[in-house]
Symmetry: C2
Subunit: 151 residues, 2 copies
């Protein structure tokens, strides 16, 4: 894919543009699944999913893992605590940064969403064979690594 640096820019081939478009559509379509049914915002869902997968974390760690602003995380955590979907435990290593984890209810909620999420993605990638999907994921992670190098 030789690009012509001189004068033209093909937006379809330009990743910051086309990837953003596709990601937005995906996120929007998928989020309908949990927003209505489970009354979760995007940041709230992302926090739940990360705590479910990785266990006990601090707010700061969640910020870094899911590329969210500290204010956004702070608000989402506050509201998840109010709904008893997560639990905050004092961190013996650092009193500022309490350890967050899913409550029983939070876990139950997550368990309800997971199969919906997996079904949704199965539909999305149904046009691809497994080799192609693996390739895609692999390239995606190379791109991600490249982006993180420069930060």
């Amino acid at each position: 894919m030789k690009t012509d640096n001189k004068t033209t820019l093909d937006l379809k081939q330009f990743l910051p543009y086309s990837l953003t478009n596709i990601a937005m559509q995906m996120s929007e379509q998928f989020s309908e699944l949990y927003q209505q049914q489970f009354d979760l915002t995007v940041p709230q869902w992302r926090i739940i999913a990360n705590l479910a997968q990785y266990g006990e974390r601090t707010a700061k760690e969640l910020c870094d893992m899911a590329q969210m602003d500290k204010s956004t995380v702070s608000r989402a955590v506050k509201s998840l605590l109010a709904r008893n979907l997560i639990i905050a435990k004092e961190n013996p290593k650092d009193k500022r940064a309490s350890l967050l984890s899913l409550s029983v209810e939070g876990n139950r909620l997550h368990e309800q969403i997971v199969p919906l999420a997996n079904e949704w993605q199965a539909g999305l990638v149904s046009d691809l064979d497994s080799r192609e999907l693996n390739q895609f994921m692999n390239t995606l992670s190379k791109l991600s690594n490249h982006l993180n190098k420069n930060v």
Copy 2:
């Protein structure tokens, strides 16, 4: 890539999540290039890039092409007109929808950004060979088609 619909969700493999993260990073890192130097917001840049590539379009068409809200486009167009970067021409077919196009200055601005954009992307994909990049783009467009089917 067989997914387990029962209980687990691997966020790294979950596209609405990981693609959003990567797209956000990309857009953010790339936008630094034009935001400071050329004082353009993301929607403004997207409009300029689309008018440059596809020529005269209405605001509605720009909304559809770049997945932007009509309010967002309306505001961006207003400000680009004020800066004389684009021109609005009355549409003989529809007086409500004026035809927007780049002005000479707008074109000049675009011509300055294009090589930066191409360089930027060249750096981003420097770890990939051309076959891999083509594959990736190809899969991406399949995913995009799939998303647009359900809309």
